[in-house]
Amino acid sequence: MKITVLLFAAAREIAGAESVELDLPLEASVADARAALLLSLPGLALRTNALLWAVNNEYAADDRILHSTDVVACFPPVSGG
């Protein structure tokens, strides 16, 4: 399935794009998406541990299973306020 991952802040700048499209197997997890993203954008590797994931506007853990209709985002720790 195709999953579009929205990118923000330094992740967006490193990728040079506001989103990236991943081709993932059915029932792929956030961890699978993370691995596919790093293959596609090795420049993000230095931030592997720090990158956070959100699915449908909520933070998501590595074992969260993705569906093709999910809105998925990946970004560094937040620094608002």
Partner: protein, 156 residues
């Protein structure tokens, strides 16, 4: 009242929105653009938001502060885009019957907002350098969708 805006924040309107005859105390917090952080000299700041998720997170915070504290009203406004020195990036206002709860609720709101709401700050320094500020990941907000609630239930 929740607001995510690219316009200057009207903190008087925010404060008026939480005033009530039921409340004897109002606490307003403003986060403003500071010129110096140690030796670093800021020229201006750029805030980037993930707007849909940020609004959802702010709404959740507004509900959660009412559950955790004796709060009469609560309101949050966060700005994004380019901010000049001294401008207001975030305003949090709470009212409560008594002042202790108002201070505690206001402090919890801004502390939790800074941990959880998907907004990022990019420093533009006077020497032309730029830097995204990324604190360490905070497990409470980032590991799974239920962890925020779990952590809060464990807190005193």
């Amino acid at each position: 009242m929740i607001e995510l805006t690219q316009q200057p924040i009207d903190y008087s309107a925010l404060t008026e929105s939480v005033r009530s005859h039921q409340a004897g105390a109002v606490v307003l917090f403003l986060g403003t653009v500071r010129e110096f952080t140690g030796e670093a000299h800021t020229a201006w700041l750029e805030y980037e938001a993930y707007p849909e998720m940020a609004v959802a997170a702010l709404q959740r915070l507004e509900g959660e502060v009412r559950r955790r504290f004796t709060v009469t009203e609560a309101a949050i406004s966060h700005r994004y885009g380019r901010l000049e020195l001294g401008e207001i990036a975030v305003a949090v206002a709470v009212s409560s019957p008594h002042r202790s709860q108002a201070f505690d609720a206001g402090r919890w709101l801004i502390d939790t907002l800074k941990e959880c709401v998907p907004i990022w700050k990019k420093e533009h320094y006077t020497d032309g350098a730029t830097e995204w500020l990324h604190p360490e990941a905070t497990p409470g907000c980032s590991q799974d969708p239920d962890s925020e609630t779990t952590r809060e239930e464990r807190s005193p």
